[in-house]
């Protein structure tokens, strides 16, 4: 076992992990943070997306020990209790989710995009979401939601 110290959604954790474990397993099975979903575990689907030290990453392809000391944001850390983030609100308003399995990864990829580019065009949104698979929506409403959220965020003066 190996000792891992990470900050998840602002909270410090110190725990023993299997040195071969991926971050997704540690988050879900040891810290009970189940927003990131287990999809393909090969990096193709994007539903396990998290933000590690400001960068969008696949939790399933991230060896937990390699991010020792890092700050991680999962979908639970976006918005707050009783206060949805504009992205979450616009996904809801635009029916950008059906079964919902891809949604945590979509939100994280969209957040990573808006953090670096507050006013993306359609092509930039498609590129940012190119690593996220959705079985249900056909993507159109997801793109609408991200655009609407970008507008909301700039109206709020870029507060995230």
């Amino acid at each position: 076992m190996a000792l891992l110290e990470i900050k998840v959604n602002g909270r410090e954790h110190r725990l023993e992990v299997d040195p071969a474990a991926n971050l997704l397993t540690v988050l879900r099975e040891q810290l009970f943070i189940t927003g990131p979903k287990v999809g393909c575990e090969t990096g193709d689907c994007g539903t396990c997306n998290v933000i590690i030290d400001g960068k969008l990453r696949r939790a399933c392809l991230t060896n937990a020990m390699t991010v020792n000391g890092s700050a991680i944001i999962t979908v639970e850390g976006v918005g707050g209790k009783g206060a949805m983030h504009p992205l979450q609100m616009q996904f809801y308003e635009n029916y950008a989710s059906q079964c919902g399995f891809c949604t945590p990864g979509m939100i994280m990829a969209s957040k990573a995009l808006l953090d670096s580019n507050p006013a993306p065009d359609d092509v930039q949104i498609k590129e940012a979401l190119s690593g996220n698979l959705c079985r249900c929506t056909g993507y159109i409403n997801i793109i609408k939601a991200v655009k609407a959220a970008a507008k909301d965020l700039s109206a709020k003066g870029g507060e995230r």
Binding site: A20, N22, G43, K55, L56, L61, M65, G131
Partner: protein, 282 residues
């Protein structure tokens, strides 16, 4: 606490010593995008000792003595976004920017792409087209070889004796040089190459003086077309000549069939991409 089966050495010597120690069954890991796919597939307890290379400071991208040095641990997204690479080696920026998807590019490294050397490793094809060299640190000092030679070695030999890839050294494109990177894939995002064709060529007085045309994903390793170089060198590129090159090049390679494409399809696709790439010389 020092972990017995995970090491994150902060200096190269220590990393090389760990990787040379066969008793601990060392396995190098950087971004993890290849290693973790394998681990995720096999749920059993792993026997290897992981040696994490991310603390070695090998993520630099800089110019030194007229060469661009790209550190082995530079993530693909940083190589693609680097102002230096975009200006001096746009071929490499384009190839790295079209691999996998944004989240994977943020983790996967150029060094990992080359060391793992999958058939569809675009980084290998791009670096061979650029005639890049790889600089390897070992317990017995530094080794330098071309990426083409490195990729042709059996995997067990490339880094035998505790080798760590430090960086790739690449000569920047000159004013008289043309480049191209074209890759066919099943969809634009998150899709491995079916075929890639890349070119680095010098044009002097309207004639091609040097041509390095590389076809990737056709066989185990990307190959440099000898026929293309022979036919084009000293000639002014024309449609007729390009057609001759396409036909000669197709007899040079023996494409594979796999889950992504049949050999027949790969031949058709290669012909189309070679035409597209070479017409950029005109």
């Amino acid at each position: 606490m020092q972990n017995q089966d995970f090491f994150a050495p902060a200096d190269l010597e220590q990393a090389c010593a760990l990787l040379a120690d066969e008793a601990i069954k060392p396995l190098a890991i950087a971004g993890g995008t290849d290693v973790m796919v394998r681990f995720n597939r096999h749920r059993r307890r792993r026997q290897e000792t992981l040696v994490y290379l991310g603390k070695l400071g090998l993520d630099y991208i800089r110019e030194e003595n007229g060469e661009v040095l790209v550190g082995a641990c530079a993530p693909l997204s940083e190589v693609a976004a680097s102002a230096l690479v975009r200006e001096k080696l746009p071929l490499l920026a384009k190839a790295c920017g079209e691999m996998a998807s944004p989240a994977v590019r943020n983790a996967g490294t150029l060094g990992g792409n080359v060391v793992n050397n999958a058939r569809h490793a675009d980084g290998v094809a791009a670096l061979i087209a650029l005639d890049a060299e790889v600089v390897i640190a070992t317990t017995r000092g530094e080794r330098v070889m071309t990426v083409a030679d490195f990729a042709a070695l059996p995997k067990s030999e490339t880094l035998a004796g505790g080798g760590v890839v430090r960086h790739f050294a690449i000569a920047p494109l000159l004013a008289n040089e043309k480049w191209a990177w074209e890759k066919l894939r099943q969809r634009k995002g998150e899709s491995r190459s079916v075929v890639s064709v890349s070119m680095r060529a010098s044009i002097d007085g309207g004639k091609c003086s040097v041509l390095r045309l590389v076809v990737g994903c056709m066989a185990a390793n990307p190959f440099v077309s000898q026929a293309a170089a022979e036919l084009m060198t000293g000639q002014a590129p024309s449609e007729e000549l390009i057609e001759l090159v396409v036909q000669a090049l197709l007899t040079e390679c023996d494409p594979v069939s796999d889950a992504r494409a049949s050999a027949w399809y790969r031949q058709k696709a290669t012909a189309a991409l070679v035409r597209r790439v070479l017409s950029q010389m005109v």
